[in-house]
């Protein structure tokens, strides 16, 4: 049994390092979407909730498990949809960094306003 615990502990420790490593360089404008995106990822508790409800033997377990499935679904679905809505805004635009290109971009903007 302790072998199993050790295996989980290994996975845990490695995940800590991966988690820190992958977001070490994030521009501040992406802090909010990143928070929201990782919020959706911990919605994986839905898998746990399904296993719990799927194993339920008593009424108490059924009620708690059912509640867990609802809450977890809210977390996972809401999380991904909100994040997607935020990131919709980051679609690429016509670059207008150079002064020469500026007039064209202004013309294009005038059309949609």
């Amino acid at each position: 049994m302790t072998n199993v615990l050790l295996q989980y502990a290994t996975v845990f420790v490695l995940s800590v390092f991966v988690g820190i490593e992958i977001i070490s360089k994030v521009p501040s404008i992406l802090h909010t979407p990143l928070m929201s995106g990782s919020n959706a990822i911990h919605g994986v508790i839905l898998v746990g909730s399904m296993l719990i409800l799927g194993a339920a033997n008593t009424n108490a377990e059924e009620v708690l498990g059912f509640l867990a499935v609802i809450l977890a679904t809210l977390n996972v679905v809401g999380g991904f949809v909100v994040t997607d809505r935020m990131l919709e805004m980051f679609k690429p635009r016509t670059p207008r960094a150079k002064p020469g290109a500026k007039a064209d971009a202004d013309g294009a903007k005038g059309a949609d306003s």
């Binding site: 979407p33 409800l53 867990a68 991904f80 202004d106």
Partner: protein, 464 residues
């Protein structure tokens, strides 16, 4: 390959997508893709779980599971789709809270399920940690939601001996955990549930509205850890990996956010920031002279400008004035005026919130400049227009060591030749601190709703 191995492999794929997703979310180009990848991985994991076996039999209550999911879907999709963008921080808070609640329920239910088998002490500890962290995240997020939604005051709520009482509640939680481990009494689990619930509330009450986003980020990583704890109990590598990833990256993100505000995390969590209005805002404040002007005055001023910097804040979004602001920028550009939007890292309610709000109004991404660049542009700007921002341009952050926001990096609006400050009233901003900039001789105040004011300015600029 057996069914169990296949499912475990699919879980591994899902865990990989989460890692790739977090990686992608760190870059503007791949962020949206990253989110889609994670959603696909999640779907894969959920579908695979339907074919999983528990206690040696296929999943029971499949219909009940589907029903629960349907309920969740019906509530979550419209909420997430149609709530105003300005209310996004609250949404993240609430979706995080329910995740914490689910993690707590999973740990709790698993414990009820296995308690007759006399689980090992470490299993009980995993359950207790899952319940404790999940519940704190749940009740804490609920209070954070209430603060941001303005169901309750955004000011820190403090009372005598608060730190002491909070410490006491924290110790009580630890004590319950230790006693439960020693006696393996299940009744105490319910006591822990209550204590953790109170702890979450007590922990969040003294945190001011302006700091709540950082708090949400922290609670987000708490939920991650609660999920990881449930993963230990259930023996699921997927839950451990995903929960720990969020726990670790969320903690780092929390620290990055507090750094962007120029504050340390303990300072945010324990200093009841913004509860006292600083000296200088006393009774004399209202008698101090300010200069105010009409939208037409502003239009004239802008007519002579060649470089204009907008400094937007949350008030802009509240007034729904982003589109009018962009219109003003376009009209000025037509007259050959250079226009920039100076974005403070914490403008809005969360880091990056203002970028999203402006992008929604089709403001070109390249016109947005970050704080450091903004501060160098401002030294040569003719006019700085502050719309709905306050604390992020408050010179007290650099000048007044007694100010609670001292040390926070700000946008130096007063470096510009002229400052136009649009305000609804003389009320202080979100952090509850008076702003010296209002009394600066360079400053012209324009009172009124930002949208009305901007619309009038646009009309006047067009006419000139």
């Amino acid at each position: 390959m057996s069914r169990g191995t296949l499912i475990d492999l699919l879980y591994l794929v899902a865990a990989l997508t989460f890692i790739l997703a977090l990686k992608g979310l760190g870059s503007p180009k791949r962020a949206r893709m990253g989110n889609v990848i994670a959603a696909a991985g999640m779907l894969l994991a959920v579908v695979a779980t339907f074919f999983n076996r528990v206690d040696g039999h296929p999943l029971h209550h499949v219909l009940l599971i589907l029903l629960g999911m349907a309920v969740g879907l019906v509530v979550a999709v419209p909420t997430a789709r149609f709530v105003q963008m300005t209310a996004m921080p609250q949404l993240v808070a609430i979706f995080n809270g329910v995740g914490g609640g689910a993690a707590c329920l999973v740990s709790l239910t698993e414990f009820i399920h296995i308690k007759s088998t006399k689980p090992a002490t470490y299993v009980v500890l995993e359950v207790l940690l899952g319940v404790l962290i999940g519940t704190v995240s749940f009740s804490g997020s609920a209070i954070a939601f209430a603060k941001l939604q303005e169901l309750m005051t955004g000011r820190p709520i403090t009372y005598a001996g608060q730190q002491f009482i909070n410490a006491l509640v924290g110790l009580a939680a630890l004590a319950v955990i230790v006693i439960t481990l020693v006696t393996s009494s299940t009744a105490l689990l319910w006591v822990l549930l209550v204590v953790a619930f109170v702890l979450g509330i007590a922990f969040v009450l003294p945190i001011g509205g302006a700091d709540v986003p950082v708090l949400i980020s922290l609670l987000n990583s708490f939920t991650g850890l609660a999920v990881a704890a449930s993963g230990f109990t259930l023996g699921s590598n997927l839950l451990i990996v995903a929960g720990t990833l969020v726990g670790a990256s969320g903690t780092l993100l929390t620290m990055l956010m507090s750094k962007a505000m120029g504050r340390s995390l303990p300072n945010i969590l324990f200093s009841a920031f913004g509860s006292v209005v600083t000296a200088g805002t006393g009774a004399g404040a209202e008698q101090r002279s300010v200069r105010s002007g009409s939208p037409e005055d502003v239009a004239v001023m802008l007519g002579f400008a060649s470089r204009v910097v907008f400094i937007p804040g949350y008030g802009l979004a509240v007034a729904q004035a982003q589109n009018v602001l962009r219109e003003l920028a376009e009209n000025l550009e037509k007259k050959g005026v250079e226009v920039f939007y100076a974005i403070h890292p914490v403008a809005g309610r969360m880091p990056g919130h203002m970028n999203v709000l402006l992008a929604e109004a089709n403001v070109p991404y390249d016109d947005l400049i970050e704080m450091d660049e903004a501060n160098s542009e401002l030294t040569t700007a003719d006019v700085a227009i502050v719309v709905g921002a306050n604390d992020t341009v408050n010179p007290a952050a650099t000048d007044d060591p007694a100010s609670p926001i001292y040390g926070m990096p700000i946008i130096h609006a007063d470096a510009a030749e002229n400052v136009i400050f649009m305000k609804r009233s003389m009320r202080p901003g979100f952090a509850g601190i008076d702003n010296e900039l209002l009394y600066n001789p360079k400053t012209t105040l324009v009172f009124g709703d930002a949208k009305d004011t901007l619309t009038k300015i646009v009309a006047a600029v067009k006419a000139s």
